[in-house]
Structures are given as C-alpha cells and as structure tokens.
Symmetry: C2
Subunit: 153 residues, 2 copies
C-alpha cells in the first residue's frame, strides 16, 4: 500500500523526516486509518533524552512530517481528488505546538495519530498525538500551509 | 570555555540533542552572551526539508535543547550559584511552540538566541529565535520544567 509520502513529487521527496529519497532521514510513512491518519515509528537506541526515554526533538520531528502529510492527504480528500492527480499538493509547517504530557518510553513502536480540525484557504490545522502502547505521551497542534507549486525547484 | 551542557551530570548527558556522551547526536553547546544564551550549529547537507532549506524538525530539536539548557543556566544564576554546584539543575520540556517565519537556508552557521521571560517555581519560560546571517527565521517559546533529581537514574 502506498503511503502519503510515496506520492510526493521527486523534488519534494528529500525531507529528513519524510523524504523517501533521503537516505539519512527517518523516512516516515503515513496512511489513513478511517478518519485519522497514522504513522508508526520505532526510535533508534540513541534517540533518547535520558536513558530509557525518547528524545522530544525526535517526537517533534515525527509530528511535523506526520502532520504536513496529513494536511496534504486531507486536502486531496476535500477536493475529491486522488493523491496521484495534478497539481500535487504539498505543505510546509507554519507553526508547531507540542505539549509533552509524560515521558515516552524507548522500546515500543510508537503510533502517531492525526485528525484535521480545520481547513481554511491554504491552511490546514492538524491535531496529532503520540501513543506508546495505549498511553498518549504527547499532544500537538500543527498549522500546515500549502507550498507554492514552484517551491524548492 | 565550558558550555552549559558540560555541567550536566553524566547520567543526564546522553541526550540526542545536547548530550556530550551521545556519539550519534547533535551535541549542541550553549553559552551566555550577555543576558542572552547562544548556540551555534551548522546543519549537515542531509538536514533538509527541501533542497537548500533546513529541516524544521531539526530546528525544533535545536530549540528544545538550547532552551532547556538556558532554563538551567538561568536558574543557577537566579539562585546565585555556579553551574558546578550541587544539587545539579536539569530541565525537561513541558511545551514547545515554534513559529516558522520563513525558510531557513542551508549553508550558513545558524545562531540560536534565548532569553528567559519568566521563572515561576519549577517552570522557566524561554523565548528562543533562530538566526541565519542577520535574519530571524524561526521564533519559539519553550516552557521548561525542572526535572526531579532522581529522574533517569
């Protein structure tokens, strides 16, 4: 099954967080799971804040790319278009608000879940949470802004 | 000259963003520059959002560690203590609010500057901005919370 990120045009597929062509990056992959979007990711042993707990900056990074991907997928849906149709829709992050509710344990695969709370013009607001097992450890709000078609060219 | 992070106790020096003992991490180093704190960092070629521009998740990570380090240094100052005195003060991130004002160019060394806006009990609020040459590209507010002395042990 193709992830949202598999539809990103080649020149926009080099992102350290979600670019399938960035061999050093996280290469996250996001899918619809009903009305929510979902990304699964297992941090590396060195992605820690203190031993045993995941680094908050990594979580912010995953949230960022998960949410901009969700914003794009949601706008295709709202326009009743498939993700392989033209012109491609890609988003950049306008703002990122992250609340760390409790330490995120290192070890389990983490799940990020996203829900679109607003689509307004070129802005899409996504509420994303991070789950370890059945516990929410982080909550975030991302305002994603549609990227001009020639951005990065 | 010792950086704020050089004073972190050994068991708290493994952070992916700022731990001097994390050989895979960013190992950022933060210093006072008058009333402001300052971190300099040059992203790697693969730390990109799109070619030519720095990845926002990396910037959020740098902001996070720069700000928790600043919070600790500020509390030592407020208590009129040197950073090598006991007990050690270390902070975790309660919340992180990042606004991306414009794309951050890849290439130049970046400067993060932090200013403490509030110290209230165990919470220290830090306003941090990212500069590329003489342009502010990102503004952030971090609420850092003092870590219990036995956290991570």
């Amino acid at each position: 099954m193709l992830a949202f990120q598999d539809y990103y045009p080649e020149h926009l597929a080099h992102c350290y967080g979600c670019g399938r062509l960035n061999e050093h990056g996280y290469r996250i992959r996001t899918f619809w799971a009903g009305e929510e979007s979902e990304t699964r990711f297992t941090p590396a042993a060195f992605h820690i804040a203190v031993p045993g707990f995941v680094y908050g900056g990594l979580l912010a990074s995953l949230i960022d790319c998960h949410s901009t991907g969700t914003a794009a997928a949601a706008l295709y849906r709202a326009q009743q278009r498939t993700m392989d149709s033209s012109p491609p829709l890609r988003f950049v992050t306008g703002s990122l608000q992250v609340t760390f509710l409790r330490p995120t344990p290192l070890g389990p695969e983490l799940t990020l879940r996203g829900r679109v709370s607003e689509i307004s013009g070129r802005k899409v607001t996504v509420e994303t949470s991070v789950w370890a097992h059945d516990v929410t450890t982080v909550r975030a709000t991302v305002v994603a802004v549609e990227m001009p078609e020639d951005f990065g060219l």
